[in-house]
């Protein structure tokens, strides 16, 4: 019972904090993109355009809810809800400090991978249910993409699991707290594993250069072509939540989580998460998009062999290096 109350309270806090961060994050991204493109970004709504995300949401919620003729109503309505649900789900096991964890599962890493992989269901449901050819192609691409990045993602995440000897996220952070960050040491399996994780995270969150299911210059808006109003808001929010939670997972698994000098653990965790989050947008506003088959080639021909190698290296490190664990 205690655990339930704990989970409910922390869950509510984490979700509210995430959504607030995303509101600021959208503003930050628009300002950041504006500066990159030698323009100002939002300036009108609120001080320095700070209320722009709020205005966007209010505008989107006012829009008429249009359901295409002959759409699969169940799938069409369910997809955005599932997308929001699954993207928020991974946040449950992310430790924001030594004590602030909604649910400190023993199989936390497995939970993150599993719920991340479930994102393919709303993607394809939206693609199929929309009764739109662009959305269908987007859904097909989404499935192909999620199968491709899923394997290297698992392999990359296995490295900290093997090195720390636990699937519990808090235990992995604890280990790094006492020893060293996995992205820093051991350099060989650690750093490349972090890079693979980062790429897979970009793919999972549908961010450029891997925003292939959405690809608005090719597929109009991909899976979200037919979505309007509140349902579109859910998809839009899910993308940002996914990026943010992915950044938090990366910070916890590879960058030492709450570990850091001078400041409380929570501050460090938030700082690392936001830096990763910002880097996603730096990448997004600098690069072009890969083609679907090029992503698959990258994942299967390059990242998977490297990932297998990294897992073996991590195992060898634990086995043969004195004090490796």
């Amino acid at each position: 019972m205690n655990g339930l109350v704990h989970g409910a309270v922390y869950g509510a806090v984490v979700i509210s904090a995430l959504l607030a961060t995303i509101a600021i994050g959208i503003w930050f991204e628009r300002k950041f993109a504006g500066r990159m493109q030698s323009r100002l970004g939002p300036t009108i709504v609120g001080p320095v355009g700070l209320f722009q995300p709020l205005a966007d949401v209010v505008k989107l919620l006012q829009k008429e809810d249009i359901v295409p003729k002959d759409a699969d109503r169940t799938l069409f309505d369910l997809a955005p809800i599932l997308a929001a649900l699954f993207s928020l789900g991974a946040a449950a096991v992310v430790p924001f400090s030594a004590t602030a964890i909604a649910a400190d599962l023993d199989i936390g890493v497995l939970w993150i991978l599993a719920i991340g992989a479930l994102m393919v269901v709303p993607t394809f449901a939206a693609g199929w249910g929309s009764n739109n050819k662009f959305a269908l192609i987007g859904g097909m691409r989404g499935v192909a993409q999620s199968i491709s990045y899923g394997v290297p993602l698992v392999l990359a995440v296995m490295v900290p699991v093997i090195l720390s000897g636990s699937m519990k996220v808090s235990a992995i952070v604890e280990w790094q707290h006492h020893h060293h960050w996995f992205a820093v040491w051991p350099v060989f399996p650690g750093l490349p594993a972090f890079v693979i994780f980062y790429l897979a995270m970009l793919a999972e969150a549908n961010r450029i250069p891997f925003d292939i299911p959405e690809a608005e210059s090719e597929l109009v808006a991909g899976i979200t072509t037919e979505y309007t109003g509140a349902k579109f808001v859910l998809f839009y929010m899910a993308e940002y939540v996914h990026t943010l939670v992915g950044s938090a997972v990366g910070a916890a698994l590879f960058l030492g989580g709450w570990d850091g000098p001078f400041a409380p653990g929570l501050h460090w965790m938030v700082l690392k998460t936001l830096l990763l989050f910002a880097s996603v947008y730096w990448v997004r506003w600098s690069l072009l998009r890969f083609r679907s088959d090029q992503l698959m080639e990258l994942c299967w021909k390059k990242l998977v062999p490297i990932g297998v190698l990294l897992v073996l290296a991590a195992a060898a490190w634990v086995q043969f290096v004195p004090g490796g664990r």
Binding site: Q37, I137, S217, L219, W285, L288
Partner: protein, 401 residues
């Protein structure tokens, strides 16, 4: 859908015959027909392609034009000769300067009017500035196609617009208008270069030249850009000639043809134009040709500013009434090299009234470039289709007229 894919793998290598009906390749009609356009973010205006897709691979692509038809040629039969310049400005709305230049050169040939040397140099300078502006806009929209409006593509897009703006400012100084200039007229130019135009132009060119390496880094130097364009939409040189394709698309297919050098007009006979030729024939080669042309145009512009002769800017009698220009007969064809290729104007004088032509035909390079689509798109994916269309650089206003 599965039985078609084996056939398709070979289609990808050898290419299918675009003249045959899709039923020939797909008798069971189980390919997906995707109407790509006319309202689509990447069709560069209102253009439609019917794509028959096997999964995501294009089996047959059929282009449809005409959504932006405004009957410009018919309109020109009713308007007087001097009234037509602002109308053809709207044809190729990315390079209006060269449109009005082509039209007025045809009228001058019809009327046997000698253009003063200064006007020739001015026209050439404006055409080269327009070429830089047009290619910058192409680069921006092409990366927008490759990278999306919410990503790196739009970053380069807005950077290109920033530089194009400087050239539009120059044109505004000259003509008072940012886009539809109406500065070419029969016998020369309407507006003389304002004081300080040369210095301002050189300053703008220096900025563009200094920023070119950034663009190269973000496009030709970027691995994703190269991966998305290399080997995509390969157009054979012979096929390009057969289809009447001109301009950068033709030169990217290894055919060394440029009217500025091969049939000089304006001040080109006094300049040494270096023509950029690439042999790849793919989207990357087209991009490289256009990059080289920006650099070459910057050089030509500098030479034109430095060598700008003094003298009158119009060699024809002052036009006080729209009906003053009268032609009773004769027919001429004038072709010039616009940023998109050979823009031809064919005029038959006379007809019902001597003040307007009997027939005016515009040969637009974009229309010919689009005719390559059924040949080069099969075998590519939907993503490639966007890249191929962007690399052909069609302007729908010019295609449909």
């Amino acid at each position: 859908m599965s039985h078609a894919s084996g056939e398709l793998q070979s289609a990808r290598r050898v290419g299918i015959d675009p003249h045959l009906s899709i039923r020939h390749y797909d008798p069971e009609a189980d390919l997906m027909l995707l109407h790509f356009g006319p309202q689509h973010p990447s069709t560069h205006g209102v253009f439609r392609m019917d794509l028959h897709l096997d999964g995501e691979i294009i089996v047959k692509a059929t282009p449809f034009v005409g959504y932006l038809h405004r009957a410009v040629e018919k309109l020109c039969e009713k308007l007087t000769y001097v009234q037509q310049t602002p109308i053809v400005d709207k044809n190729d709305y990315v390079a209006p300067m060269t449109n009005e230049q082509a039209l007025n050169m045809a009228f001058e040939k019809l009327l046997n009017v000698e253009v003063p040397r200064r006007a020739k140099w001015m026209r050439t300078l404006l055409a080269e500035l327009q070429r830089i502006a047009s290619h910058l806009l192409w680069l921006g929209t092409f990366t927008l196609d490759l990278g999306g409006a919410l990503g790196g593509g739009s970053t380069l897009f807005i950077h290109c617009f920033r530089e194009r703006e400087m050239i539009l400012d120059l044109f505004e100084d000259l003509t008072g208008s940012r886009f539809h200039y109406n500065t070419h007229t029969i016998g020369g130019n309407r507006h003389d270069l304002p004081a300080g135009f040369g210095e301002k132009a050189k300053k703008a060119l220096a900025v563009i030249e200094a920023r070119m390496p950034e663009y190269v880094d973000m496009s030709l130097g970027n691995g994703i850009f190269v991966a998305r364009t290399k080997g995509v939409g390969v157009l054979d040189g012979d096929l390009a000639l057969e289809l009447g394709i001109t301009g950068p698309v033709l030169r990217a297919s290894g055919i060394d043809h440029d009217l500025r050098r091969d049939a000089p007009y304006g001040a080109y006979d006094e300049l040494d134009v270096k023509v950029a030729v690439e042999s790849g024939g793919d989207c990357l080669a087209r991009a490289k040709v256009r990059f080289a042309e920006i650099t070459e145009s910057i050089r030509l512009c500098r030479a034109l500013i430095d060598g700008m002769p003094e003298g009158p800017i119009n060699g024809y009698k002052p036009i006080r009434q729209a009906t003053m220009v009268k032609v009773t007969g004769g027919q001429v064809y004038v072709g010039i090299e616009t940023p998109r290729g050979e823009l031809g104007t064919f005029v038959i004088g006379g007809g019902d009234t001597p003040t307007s032509p009997y027939r005016l035909k515009i040969r637009s390079p974009s229309l010919h470039a689009l005719s390559a689509i059924p040949y080069i798109m099969p075998g590519a994916t939907v993503s490639d289709a966007v890249a191929i269309l962007g690399s052909l650089d069609p302007i729908m206003g010019e295609v449909d007229r």
